[in-house]
Amino acid sequence: MKKLIISMATLLAITAVFAFTVLAQNWTITNKYNIQFSSNDVGGIFKTFTGSIAFDETNLAASKFDVTIDVNSINTGNGLQNKHAKSAEWFDAAKYPAIKFTSTKIVKAGAAYQVTGNLQIHGVTKEFTIPFTFKKAGAGATFNGSFTINRSDFKIGKPGGEVAEQIKVEVAVPVTKG
């Protein structure tokens, strides 16, 4: 009888944890997102951004980001620069066609949040923390983030040169419940 109670309690606990995990709201990324980067003399956008987002302000432990950027969708506004950015010297899009970010931890930071995860660019994976805000509006919401990446950390381009080491990235991702 005691064994049965322990088994039932364990099952109940597992079920509760599983139910708790499922509770994090899934969000669908709309096509109005904006993934923008800029430095002193270059700037542009990535046109293709996909992934899955599960986020619940009241359940950060169950929240998760798993997103991908298509490197070939880079647009700097200049055809030659686009070609150069995709070349082996920079993103090497043929070999590393995607930028990936998978979250491992999300915490609240004041009125905003911080997501820590594995960021993979140019074949280099590093732990990276991104601060972001989350604003609900009706049935949808928007994630906004602004942060800086050191391109040399990911072996993008040659160190020094005309392009600054620090690249500012601004992300705006409108989502709908889904």
Binding site: G44, K47, N75, T76, G77, N78, G79, Q81, K83
Partner: protein
Amino acid sequence: MFKRLLLLGLVSGILAAAAALIYQKIYFKSNEIDFSAIIKPVNVLLVCILAGLLASVGYGLLTKWLPKAGEIIFNFVFVIVTFASIVGPIGFRLPLSYENPELFPGLTVPMHFFPALAWFTVKPLFIKK
């Protein structure tokens, strides 16, 4: 002579603009793109006329100062300036909302040669030796 030169500049500018606009239409249709918000027809017309008039003024001044070598110097300068001007469209940064910026030089680089082509083509009609 001065009036003829100005007329040459004006006529060659209008011809160059007409050629540029026809080329633009064909380019848009064949590539299914539209840069007309950046390359406005009015601007194409004004720039072509300005280029034609500047070429005429340059020709007039050079042939006046250097009667023997003025013409050949002008021809060289006009062609070199035309070639050098293609750096502009190649380095131009389009607004990020445009999908295919790599197609932009294919439209604009040939257009940069139209004023010189038109000017040299109609010049014998206005300046007879």
